[in-house]
């Protein structure tokens, strides 16, 4: 089941590749009552403990497939259902230290049936959460 927070707890962990940690991941839900096509999604910005990641430092795992942020606007053929959790992937040797982290996530998405003035910002909102990473 989903949590109300946009940033979800389940799935927050480092990415283990064999014995090595190659990065970390942050699961997020779509704060919207319906799903969207990936070209409606805009690149996310992630801040962990004051350090900000943007653009090509972040990839999206949606439905088990990985997309770069530059790729999103070209993928009007891929759908992200609002009941499915997506995962933001950040490459970082060694990942995050086990313990408490302040995580902030912001991304926008487009809703064409709203006036252009509020298209991107009516539903989109930033979220932050203090979360424990165990491994």
């Amino acid at each position: 089941m989903l949590e109300q927070s946009i940033i979800q707890l389940r799935g927050f962990r480092n990415i283990h590749d064999g014995g090595k940690i190659t990065g970390f991941q942050i699961p997020v839900r779509l704060n919207y009552y319906r799903g969207i096509w990936l070209s409606q999604l805009r690149p996310a910005q992630v801040t962990v403990d004051g350090h900000t990641y943007t653009e090509n430092e972040i990839c999206w795992n949606i439905g088990g497939n990985i997309y770069t942020q530059q790729e999103l606007c070209h993928r009007s053929d891929v759908h992200w259902n609002n009941l499915d959790v997506a995962t933001l992937i950040i490459n970082k040797d060694g990942g995050l230290i086990p313990g408490l982290h302040e995580v902030e996530v912001y991304y926008q998405f487009s809703a064409s049936y709203l006036p252009p003035r509020i298209d991107l910002n009516f539903f989109s909102r930033p979220d932050s959460r203090k979360m424990v990473l165990v491994r």
Partner: protein, 292 residues
């Protein structure tokens, strides 16, 4: 499916799953929503395709099998299929007529496969008063033969701040009369009748309530209605939408479509709150429909 409800030529009751947006997936499953509807005798269903259909637009056979078995178990008729023509699908572009048509066709086929007869077709807009994209007549007209083949009716939603008496609604009606189609129509959202205190405040836009009798001329083209509400009292009264007048007119006009509840009030993420509000609205509707 539940054709008995149609025989009397009067409105029947349903629910849009939109109501459960902050519970479905959090504290309720789709089956829980259906069970809730069963308690209310709400036999008509609206879903929002891009969200309620797992793996939309390609549901698995397993999902489809479960879908039909749940409909049967809870005696539910799929009425309205909510979908979008996302005109700003790609940043900086307006969706072409051909691409809009393709998007429509994909949804028409899926709606029909799932058993729906009405589609709430949400068009992209170009301004503050929700004027639809300039090419809407072109791609809708292209899709009419497909809608006919699959036996569904595409219906934009008449929603505040658009009054029922307005150039935009006139344009929809003219399109219907010009084409003579039975596969494009209207969905009236009763929010258009909401009293002034609760209405949307839009800078520079006047947003007065329509009068319930303004529906009368539109009912022949109206294939579903959104029974919008934002608060039901413990006395089963909606203080901001004139349901007594609305339902009186629908009965008098022998309109026999589905009233799909759309709860848009507060506390939607509080478990059980929406269900309680829905139940209160359905007690009200049963009274006004003469069921009790």
């Amino acid at each position: 499916m539940t054709t008995k409800t149609h025989q009397e030529k009067k409105p029947y009751r349903g629910v849009s799953l939109y109501c459960y947006a902050e519970e479905l997936g959090f504290t309720m499953t789709m089956e829980d929503c259906f069970a809730d509807m069963y308690d209310m005798g709400a036999t008509g269903l609206e879903i929002l395709a891009n969200g309620h259909i797992e793996n939309y637009p390609n549901p698995t056979d397993e999902w489809l099998e479960n879908w039909f078995s749940l409909l049967k178990k809870y005696e539910i008729e799929p009425v309205e299929y909510g979908h979008w023509v996302d005109s700003r699908l790609v940043p900086g572009q307006q969706l072409s007529t051909k691409d809009s048509y393709d998007m429509l066709v994909k949804d028409i086929k899926l709606a029909s496969k799932l058993g729906f007869s009405v589609m709430r077709t949400k068009l992209g807009v170009v301004d503050e008063i929700l004027t639809p994209v300039p090419n809407w007549q072109e791609f809708i007209e292209m899709a009419l033969p497909v809608a006919e083949e699959y036996n569904v009716k595409m219906c934009p939603e008449l929603h505040q701040p658009t009054p029922l008496k307005s150039a935009m609604v006139d344009e929809y009606v003219e399109f219907i009369e010009r084409t003579g189609t039975k596969h494009f129509g209207l969905n009236i959202d009763f929010g258009v009748f909401q009293s002034p205190e609760g209405r949307l405040q839009i800078p520079g836009v006047d947003n007065p309530p329509s009068a319930p009798e303004d529906m009368i001329a539109l009912l022949p083209y109206t294939y579903a209605c959104h029974a919008k509400f934002t608060h039901m009292t413990e006395d089963f009264i909606d203080p901001t939408h004139p349901y007594d007048e609305i339902i009186k007119i629908l009965i008098q006009e022998k309109w026999d479509g589905c009233l799909l509840s759309e709860y848009e009030g507060g506390n939607r993420s509080v478990p059980g709150y929406t269900s309680d509000q829905l139940r209160k609205q359905h007690v009200m509707m049963r009274r006004l429909l003469g069921e009790i």
